[in-house]
C-alpha cells in the first residue's frame, strides 16, 4: 500500500472512530446521566427511560458499537486489499 492509500485508510478509520465514540458518549454520559431526569418522565414497558439507558440501553448500545466497528473495519480492510494480517508473536 502506498503512502497516499495509507493516509486515506487512517483518515477513514479515524472518522469511523469519531462517529462511534460520539454515540458511546451520548448513550452513557448523555442519556444515562446528564439527561436522565428528563428521560425518566417517559416510561416504556415499566422502565423509566433514563434508568433503562443507565442499566440496559447503554450496555446494549456498546455491544452494537463494537459490532459495527468490526464490520466496517473488515469492509475497509477489504477495500484497501489487506488480506494477510500480521500473525507473528514477537519477542526480542
Amino acid at each position: 500500500m502506498d503512502d497516499a492509500a495509507r493516509q486515506e485508510y487512517w483518515r477513514r478509520n479515524l472518522r469511523l472512530m469519531a462517529v462511534l465514540l460520539t454515540i458511546w458518549a451520548l448513550v452513557s454520559f448523555g442519556a444515562g446521566i446528564l439527561f436522565v431526569e428528563a428521560l425518566n418522565t417517559i416510561v416504556i414497558a415499566g422502565f423509566p427511560l433514563g434508568f433503562w439507558f443507565a442499566q440496559q440501553g447503554s450496555i446494549i448500545t456498546f455491544v452494537a458499537l463494537i459490532a459495527i466497528y468490526v464490520w466496517r473495519m473488515d469492509r475497509l480492510d477489504a477495500e484497501f486489499g489487506i488480506d494477510a494480517y500480521e500473525q507473528e508473536v514477537h519477542h526480542s
Partner: protein, 572 residues
C-alpha cells in the same frame, strides 16, 4: 450434611476436575505459549476468556448487591458500575486492541518500554504489579467467603484449596492453560448466574427474560421503597450527584481500558482482525451478565422488602438465619439482630423513615442467597457457589500471569539476564508465578483492611497512569518518552495523593469541589494528558524510525518495520 451442601460439594468438585483436566491437556513448553498462549487463540474463545478474566468475584458476587443495597437504598447509583465496566470495552476495541496486537509483544511494560524508554518500562512494571496484587487479594478473599459460608469449610483452608487449583493450571499451562480454563469457567459462571435469574423472573413476572421482566416490578418497588423511607428505586442522583456519577463512570471506563490484565489479552489473539473480534465477543459475553445483574438486584430487593421487613426474627426465612449465623446479616453497624422499637417484628427501613432500621444486609450475599430468596431448589444453590468460585479463580489466574510475566519478562529477561535462553526464561516465569500465588494466598488469608476500598480505586489509578500513555503512544507519533513518563508519574501521584487525603481510612479530608475519591481518576487522567502533551512539545522528538513504526502499527497487514522490531532491532 444438608442437601444444599451435598449439591454444592458436587458442583465444586466436578468443575475443579474439569479445570485441572483442561490445564493438563494444554500445558506449554515455550515462553510464547506461557505469556500469550502462542498468539493462537480463536476470537470467540479469547472473548470468553477475557470475559471470565474480567468478571471477578466482585462482578459475580457483589455487583447486584451494590445496586440493590446501595447508599440510601437507591438502585440508580449502581448504574455507574454497569456503564463503567462495560463502556471501557468500546475504548479498548477502538483505541487499543488492534494496535497493541499489531505491536505483538508479551506485556504492557513491553509496549511502554519499546515505544518510549526503559524508565517508562520500569514505571509500567511497578504500576502493573501493584494494581494486580491489590486485585488478586480481593479474589482470594472471595474464594474464602464462598468456602466458609456455603461449604462450612474453614476459610483459610478454602483459600489454600483455591491456591492449589490455580497453582496447578497457571504454573503448568501459563497463558494457554489459563485461557482454556477460563473458557470453561466462563461457561460455568454464566450458567450459574442466568439460571436463577431466569427462574426468579418467571416466578415473579411470568417473563423468562430477566432483562425485560424487571420492568414489570419497578413501579411496585418504587412505591414500596418510598413507603419504607428509601428513595425511589429508579430515582436519579440519590446516591451521588451528577458530577460524581460522570466522574466515577468515566474513571471506571478509562480504568478498564488501562488495566494490564485486560489489555494483555489482545496479544493472545491470532491477528489484528481476531483482536477486534475478541473485543466484540468479550463485551457480548460480559453484557449477558451485566444486563442480568440489575434484574437480579431489583427482584432480590423486592423480595427482601416484602418478606424480610416486618417479620419477626423467628418467622424469617431459612436463608436469613443461615447468613445471620455467619454475621453477614446483622443489626445496624454489625450489632446483634434485635427488635429495637419493640414492635414485635424486625424492620428494614430507609433513612427517611421514622422507624429505625433493625437489619443490615451485606452486599456480598445478595447473589449467593438469591436462589434461596427466590425459593429455588438445592442444586441451583450449589451451581451458584461453583459459579462464584469460577469467577474468582479465573480473575485471580489472569492477574497472576500479569505479575509473573512482568517480573520474568520485563525485569529478569530485559534487565537482569538478557542472555537467558528460552528454557531458563520459562523456568523463571514459573517460579515467579508460584511466588505470586503464595503472596496472593497470604493476602487472601490476611486481607489488609483497605483492600475493598483500593480495588475500586485501582481503576482510577489505571486511568490516571496507563491509559494516556497507551493511547497517545499509538495516536500521536510525536509523543515523547519524557512526556509520557512525566504524565504517568504526575497522573498517578496526584490521584494517589487525593485518595490519601480524602479516604476515610486515611485522611478523611473534604476534597475539592466534593469530588468522590473513586471519581478522581478521571481528573488525574486529564492532568496526565495535559502534562504529557506539554512536556512533549519541549523534549526530543521520537526518532524518525520510531515514528515510522507507529505509522505501521496503524495498519493491520504485514509491514517491514514491525517485523524488524520483532527481531529485536532498536528503533529509538
Amino acid at each position: 450434611m444438608s442437601e444444599v451442601q451435598i449439591w454444592t460439594f458436587g458442583f465444586v468438585a466436578v468443575t475443579f476436575g474439569i479445570y485441572i483436566y483442561v490445564a493438563w491437556a494444554s500445558r506449554v513448553k515455550d515462553t510464547a505459549g506461557f505469556y500469550v498462549a502462542g498468539g493462537g487463540i480463536p476470537a470467540p474463545a479469547n472473548g470468553a476468556a477475557i470475559a471470565a478474566d474480567w468478571m471477578s468475584a466482585a462482578s459475580f458476587i457483589s455487583m447486584a448487591g451494590l445496586i440493590a443495597l446501595g447508599l440510601n437504598g437507591n438502585g440508580y447509583g449502581g448504574s455507574t458500575y454497569l456503564m463503567g465496566w462495560t463502556g471501557g470495552y468500546v475504548l479498548l476495541a477502538l483505541l487499543l486492541a488492534p494496535y497493541l496486537r499489531k505491536f505483538g509483544k508479551y506485556t504492557i511494560p513491553d509496549f511502554v518500554g519499546d515505544r518510549y524508554s526503559e524508565t517508562g518500562r520500569m514505571v509500567a512494571v511497578l504500576c502493573a504489579v501493584v494494581v494486580s496484587f491489590v486485585y488478586v487479594a480481593g479474589q482470594m478473599a472471595g474464594v474464602g467467603v464462598v468456602f466458609a459460608n456455603l461449604l462450612s469449610v474453614d476459610r483459610n483452608i478454602g483459600v489454600l484449596i483455591g491456591m492449589t487449583i490455580v497453582f496447578f493450571y497457571a504454573v503448568l499451562g501459563g497463558m494457554k492453560g489459563i485461557t482454556w480454563t477460563q473458557v470453561c469457567q466462563y461457561t460455568v459462571l454464566i450458567i450459574a448466574y442466568l439460571i436463577p435469574a431466569i427462574a426468579v423472573s418467571s416466578k415473579l413476572t411470568g417473563i423468562p427474560v430477566p432483562q425485560v421482566g424487571f420492568g414489570r416490578i419497578l413501579e411496585e418497588l418504587n412505591t414500596l421503597s418510598v413507603e419504607l423511607g428509601f428513595h425511589e428505586y429508579t430515582a436519579a442522583f440519590a446516591q451521588w450527584n451528577m458530577m460524581n456519577m460522570v466522574l466515577i463512570t468515566a474513571a471506571l471506563m478509562f480504568g478498564t481500558a488501562g488495566l494490564p490484565h485486560v489489555i494483555v489479552r489482545f496479544y493472545t489473539a491470532k491477528n489484528v482482525r481476531a483482536a477486534r473480534y475478541s473485543a466484540l465477543w468479550a463485551l457480548f459475553f460480559i453484557a449477558l451478565l451485566y444486563t442480568t445483574a440489575p434484574a437480579v438486584a431489583s427482584y432480590a430487593k423486592l423480595n427482601i422488602l416484602k418478606n424480610v421487613n416486618g417479620a419477626a426474627l423467628a418467622d424469617q426465612p431459612s436463608w436469613f438465619h443461615r447468613w445471620a449465623d455467619v454475621g453477614l446479616i446483622s443489626g445496624p453497624g454489625g450489632a446483634p439482630l434485635t427488635d429495637l422499637n419493640n414492635d414485635g417484628v424486625l424492620n428494614f427501613t430507609g433513612a427517611l423513615s421514622s422507624v429505625p432500621t433493625e437489619i443490615a444486609i451485606n452486599n456480598d450475599i445478595l447473589v449467593l442467597a438469591s436462589p434461596e430468596i427466590g425459593g429455588l431448589p438445592a442444586p441451583v444453590i450449589g451451581l451458584v457457589a461453583a459459579g462464584a468460585l469460577a469467577a474468582a479463580l479465573s480473575t485471580a489466574s489472569g492477574l497472576l500471569l500479569v505479575i509473573s510475566s512482568s517480573i520474568a519478562n520485563d525485569v529478569y529477561h530485559k534487565k537482569i539476564n538478557p542472555a537467558a535462553d528460552e528454557k531458563k526464561q520459562l523456568l523463571v516465569g514459573r517460579i515467579a508465578m508460584a511466588a505470586a500465588i503464595l503472596v496472593a494466598g497470604y493476602l487472601g488469608i490476611n486481607p489488609p483492611g483497605f483492600v475493598a476500598e483500593v480495588v475500586a480505586l485501582a481503576f482510577g489509578l489505571a486511568a490516571a497512569s496507563f491509559f494516556p500513555a497507551l493511547v497517545l503512544g499509538i495516536f500521536w507519533k510525536r509523543c515523547t518518552a519524557a512526556g509520557a513518563a512525566a504524565g504517568m508519574i504526575t497522573g498517578i501521584a496526584v490521584t494517589l495523593a487525593y485518595m490519601a487525603w480524602t479516604l476515610p481510612a486515611y485522611g478523611g479530608g473534604d476534597g475539592l469541589f466534593g469530588i468522590d475519591p473513586k471519581g478522581f481518576g478521571t481528573v488525574g487522567m486529564l492532568i496526565n494528558f495535559t502534562v504529557t502533551i506539554v512536556v512533549s512539545q519541549f523534549t526530543t522528538k521520537p526518532s524518525a524510525k520510531m515514528q515510522a513504526l507507529v505509522e505501521e502499527i496503524r495498519f493491520p497487514g504485514r509491514t517491514d518495520l514491525v517485523a524488524k522490531h520483532a527481531e529485536g532491532a532498536d528503533l529509538h
